[in-house]
């Protein structure tokens, strides 16, 4: 599904990703762990097409050169990024945003746009799964949302858009244990054989609830070690130093 080869990215001439390789197949859950500044968020940003980066290497997503696609087309092709810091947008109601975005993606797939009624039904159903209060939908997007609400909103968007590959950028940060469980449950109920996840995190905590098939350690812009859940458990015990010094 996703094939990253020798990916390099720099910002303001500072190289952050220094030749990263990663393969993700349908049905898999990958976790990337790494210390602050190792390039985790840069990877997420580069994949979703944020400007400001000078990018080299190759990323093939569903047999297409991802790096050549504009931001919105990456999303329409099935790539989803759950933001570490979802942006607050005053004046735009959450439901208006959700409907616009959902219909824009449906339109690109030549699907019929959802009527207001059908949309409302769908969004209510998905919100209920995530324990999201209906009132929240009429509030301006992310404005004044708690950390937990923002992250739940990201997962809600994921469940509505139904991407092939979801990149979760530190979705666990700022969550209390109840919210963490809800978010993890949201991911687990969405997970199936034809989609995949890339979970970016500092801590093993989230991985107790979303079981990864592969765990990678990112350090200084490269994946320096890959393994399975035991690697995450080991990192939690001993910290990153052992790996980053190696």
């Amino acid at each position: 599904m996703l094939e990253i080869k020798n990916l390099k990215a720099s910002i303001n001439k500072k190289e952050i990703l220094k030749g990263l390789n990663l393969n993700i197949k349908a049905g898999e859950v990958h976790a990337i762990m790494g210390p602050n500044g190792s390039g985790k968020s840069t990877l997420a940003n580069v994949l979703s097409g944020k400007k400001d980066y000078d990018v080299k290497g190759s990323v093939i997503f569903e047999k297409e050169d991802l790096l050549e696609l504009p931001i919105e087309e990456r999303s329409r092709k099935g790539l989803f990024l759950a933001f570490q810091y979802p942006v607050e947008i005053p004046g735009v109601s959450t439901s208006n945003f959700l409907r616009t975005t959902l219909n824009s993606i449906r339109k690109s797939k030549s699907q019929k746009e959802l009527s207001a009624l059908d949309f409302l039904k769908l969004v209510k159903e998905k919100s209920a799964e995530l324990n999201i209060d209906e009132k929240f939908l009429s509030r301006p997007l992310n404005v004044g949302f708690s950390g937990g609400e923002k992250k739940k909103n990201e997962i809600l968007q994921m469940k509505l858009i139904q991407p092939k590959l979801a990149v979760l950028d530190e979705t666990d940060s700022g969550l209390d244990i109840d919210a963490l469980k809800i978010v993890a449950n949201g991911v687990n109920t969405y997970k199936n054989k034809s989609n995949a996840f890339l979970i970016i995190t500092h801590y093993q905590r989230l991985l107790n609830y979303i079981k990864p098939d592969f765990v990678h350690v990112l350090s200084n812009g490269q994946i320096i070690k890959s393994g399975c859940m035991e690697l995450a458990e080991d990192l939690e015990k001993t910290g990153y130093q052992k790996y980053t010094n190696a």
Partner: protein, 411 residues
């Protein structure tokens, strides 16, 4: 050089003749405002007029082909104006006895202090307008819509109009003023309005510019008495050249004025809003929020002054100006001023201008919206808060529709 002379008005009283002549003489001496005048620093109306006209005819023929298209969105009373003159009045039965409206006569004109030269010009050449009164204790059941239409044929002429709104004691109303200009432009429109709110009048005034091709100066003087409250909402786009001056006098205690303005300016459009909020009595409140989105090489200006007289203690005044500049060719000027002589007041103002938030654009695009959709959604959001201040559900819906449509016109 533009040649302006006073027409030979027939069938007018000696007093009116004298009034017009006196004002004309003053105007002749002073001419159109020049940029040296602080109030006209950002709007060069003199140059604009001189470049646009070789002569200006102040006696235009009344257009008999009037447009009478009604808004279908909600039930309302309607008043049609064609080129600034009353043409048709249709008041809902429930409100019939609450409203009095008539053509403006010379005797309706009250002496105004400190008029600028365009006010003087208006006095010399005024050709109609109206006086409307909402009676004491009247609460209008339906919104009152003014269809302010301008004819296709207007050319090389100057229209000087006076509109007087008297809102008597304890009255309340929703007034919607829809400006729609079908001309090719090339006329000068000089409007002078008075909003007089007597004790405890509660008025919402929605001023909507759908299209305005004229070179337009519009001045509003609002006089607000005890416990009265005016909410003025201005929504503007497709406006070629406009300076709108809004002078508010909070004359008596506990009066209130709110001004909200949303404008989208494109191409070489020019819009200046100047507000002078005068707190002349204690315990008055004012709130102003002025927003603009500028595209192409449009120019937007906001000059806003809050004046607090020495005895106007416990004043609470707020003013905010925000502009989004969509490219480098646009110009936005803001001049906020506070002039405070009382010592127990709360006054604040702020001004910001800049590009759209690129992080927000990225966020929206990462959800499948293209750049135009993301931009439109952000602009809609930028303007949307104005709608949240409206209590009348149907007017609110109508304005949201206009805002959405306007936001979508941005490229």
């Amino acid at each position: 050089m533009l040649n302006i002379s006073l027409p030979n008005y027939k069938k007018i009283s000696v007093a009116e003749k004298k009034f017009r002549q006196q004002n004309f003489d003053i105007f002749k001496k002073n001419g159109f405002p020049i940029r040296k005048d602080e109030n006209w620093k950002f709007t060069n109306i003199k140059e604009k007029i001189e470049n646009s006209f070789s002569n200006l005819n102040f006696l235009h023929k009344k257009n008999k082909n009037i447009r009478e298209k009604l808004l279908k969105e909600f039930k309302h009373s309607s008043i049609f104006l064609q080129d600034g003159d009353l043409t048709k009045i249709n008041i809902q039965i429930a409100d019939k006895k609450k409203i009095k409206i008539k053509n403006l006569k010379f005797s309706d004109i009250k002496k105004q202090r400190s008029l600028n030269t365009l006010g003087i010009l208006n006095n010399a050449f005024f050709s109609g307008g109206f006086v409307i009164s909402i009676k004491q204790n009247a609460d209008l059941k339906y919104p009152l819509i003014f269809y302010n239409n301008f004819s296709k044929k207007l050319n090389n002429c100057g229209l000087n109009k006076k509109y007087i709104f008297n809102f008597l004691k304890n009255s309340s109303a929703n007034i919607v003023f829809v400006n729609n200009d079908f001309s090719e432009g090339n006329y000068f429109l000089n409007q002078n309005s008075n909003y007089n709110l007597d004790t405890n009048a509660k008025i919402n005034f929605f001023n909507i510019y759908l299209r305005n091709n004229s070179i337009n100066y519009s001045s509003v003087t609002a006089n607000i008495n005890q416990d009265a409250s005016l909410k003025f909402i201005n929504i503007l786009s497709n406006t070629l050249f406009l300076k709108k001056d809004f002078f508010t006098n909070l004359n008596e205690k506990n009066s209130n004025c709110e001004i909200y303005s949303n404008a989208i300016l494109k191409k070489n459009e020019h819009f200046e809003l100047q507000t002078v909020m005068s707190h002349l009595a204690p315990y008055c409140t004012s709130y102003q929020k002025v927003k603009k989105v500028l595209e192409d090489d449009a120019k937007g200006v906001y000059q806003g002054k809050i004046y607090v007289k020495k005895n106007a203690q416990k004043t609470d005044a707020y003013q905010l100006s925000k502009a989004i500049l969509l490219n480098n060719e646009t110009e936005f000027d803001a001049k906020p001023e506070l002039e405070i002589y009382a010592d127990d007041v709360k006054c604040s103002h702020g001004s910001s201008s800049g590009n759209l938030d690129e992080n927000a654009i990225f966020y929206l695009m990462s959800r499948g919206l293209d750049r135009k959709q993301a931009t439109n959604l952000l602009i809609e959001g930028f303007f949307r808060d104005i709608a949240e201040t409206i209590n009348h559900t149907e007017i609110k819906k109508y304005l949201i529709k206009i805002i959405e449509k306007k936001a979508n016109e941005i490229r």
